[in-house]
Amino acid sequence: MTKKYRFLIAVTIPLLILLAMMIKPQATVLFGQEIVLESKAFDPTDLFRGDYVAISFAISEIPKSKVTLPIDKINNKNLYVSLKQEGKYYVVDQVSEMKPKQGVYLKGKFQANYNEFNQADKLTVDYSLDKYFIGQGSGVNLQQKSYRGGLVGTVKVLGGYGVVTAIAPI
């Protein structure tokens, strides 16, 4: 292998990594189903990706009573959350260990929250849908609107993977 080819390979590897990173999210944006979720938000900054709106979707909090699994099968586990449409928004329908065969569902990491009686009454789910990046300075406006009446997030979903595509005041 000549020096030229080896150099070409060293340059191509980073480019391939960048392209590979885009496959899943881009496919979701293109082919995923669009759902609308209820949300709250505030406005911090990340050093490398800039300003963002930190989103907390209503579906990220699930009462324990909705889940039939024992607690050791929930805490720190990746589970599937099936969603159903109720009015404008999608809400939690049920939680399962197996990938649902149909319907809209998201994969998320579960965390149990304990109340003062040491009972797990609420479950927090991390869908990795907690950030929406925006132009510098434009977050304050969104944040104020969020305090007044909440926000709605639009998410594209494909095979349990979601990409936030829009955030807007109600």
Binding site: P14, Q26, D130
Partner: protein, 356 residues
């Protein structure tokens, strides 16, 4: 091949040789012959520093541009710019490497920063959630091939640092399996890059922080973590081997000093002894630790001397119970004075003992 030594060492050797010559120990010819053995190692090259800092500034500017999320141009166009600039600077780097090697190399450096900007742009475009530590793993992964190809130890150091950031930030993620490959790679790199001491130093840091992350992940108690690293520090300092022992000794010495200091805090010990006896056991440990430090100082360890000073300061500010503290310090000081006097007298009587 000539022996490579630093400018400072060369000037020391030549002044000493001039001294020997003027004393008549060696002739002028012998002096020149000896000086001929050496070759002064190149220090910092000014041009290289200038172009590297230039590349660094442009790269940081691009990273910052991405973070600004300026909506004057679309994300897709930004992505095209990133790909274009990445390709362009690498091509420039390749072409310039023939005749302008320093500028060429700085173009390659710029390319690695542009690549990082690309990663964060994609993270931003698709609103990836969480803290995104994977970004640093992918960044590191993309830098390694070029570092190995060009045998550039600074690129490798950069990749190692990025990998270290990933390891330390991935605590609440899944198990960092990448470390099982990454840590051997950073040591392999040390061997491959003409055994650069710089790379070994950071490879050790990466390995240590991996062990630390593991103790956090499996919720090991603070006492055992401190003891584990104390023992690792002792081993790094004490085990005799031929692979850059100086690096291991310095790192081991600092590690055992810091962890030893932590172990002198009583609260840590309440998992092995009752709460009333934690103070006693921590003080027993402190006495043993200071004895060890004195033993190391005798072997010429200046770092240990610093830690003895820190320990004294730590106990002086520890309590406002002045009377017991006064007694403790006076007794301790008198013991040391006594030992010192005893050793000095012993050396005098035995005429040239080896104690120093």
């Amino acid at each position: 091949m000539k022996r490579q030594i630093s400018k400072a060492n060369f000037s020391l050797v030549s002044t000493e040789l001039e001294n020997y010559e003027s004393n008549g120990l060696i002739t002028g010819e012998q002096k020149n012959d000896i000086l001929e053995i050496y070759d002064v190692k190149g220090g910092l090259n000014f041009i290289r520093v200038v172009v590297t800092i230039g590349a660094l500034l442009v790269g940081l500017g691009i990273l910052s541009f991405i973070a600004s999320n300026w909506d004057g141009i679309s994300n897709l166009f930004k992505l095209v710019i990133i790909f274009g600039v990445f390709g362009g600077v690498n091509l420039a780097g390749y072409i310039l490497s023939e005749n302008y090697s320093k500028t060429g190399r700085s173009m390659i450096y710029l390319g690695t920063l542009v690549y990082g900007a690309g990663i964060f742009l994609i993270g931003q475009m698709y609103n990836f959630g969480g803290d995104f530590p994977t970004a640093f793993l992918l960044w590191s992964l993309g830098v390694v091939p070029m570092a190995f190809l060009l045998k550039d130890k600074y690129l490798m150091l950069f990749a190692n640092l990025l990998f270290g950031i990933y390891l330390n930030a991935s605590f609440d993620q899944g198990f960092p399996y990448a470390a099982l490959v990454g840590i051997p790679v950073v040591y392999l790199a040390f061997n491959y890059f003409e055994r650069s001491r710089l790379l070994l130093f950071f490879a050790n840091l990466t390995a240590l922080s991996f062990i630390f992350q593991m103790t956090l992940r499996y919720e090991v108690k603070g006492l055992y973590v401190a003891l584990l690293f104390f023992v690792i520090g002792l081993m790094m300092y004490g085990i005799k081997h031929s692979v850059e022992p100086d690096i291991f000794r310095v790192q081991g010495n600092i590690l055992l000093g810091v962890t030893g200091l932590i172990l002198t805090f009583p609260d840590l010990w309440n998992i092995v002894v009752s709460t009333q006896s934690t103070r006693l056991i921590s003080i027993l440990f402190a006495v043993a630790f200071v004895t060890l430090l004195f033993f190391l100082i005798r072997k010429g360890s200046i770092i240990s001397l610093i830690f003895v000073c820190v320990i004294i300061f730590r106990y002086y500010t520890d309590t406002f119970a002045f009377l017991p503290k006064s007694l403790f310090f006076i007794v301790g000081g008198l013991l040391l004075l006594g030992f010192g006097f005893y050793f000095e007298r012993m050396m005098k009587t035995s005429k040239g003992g080896t104690l120093a």
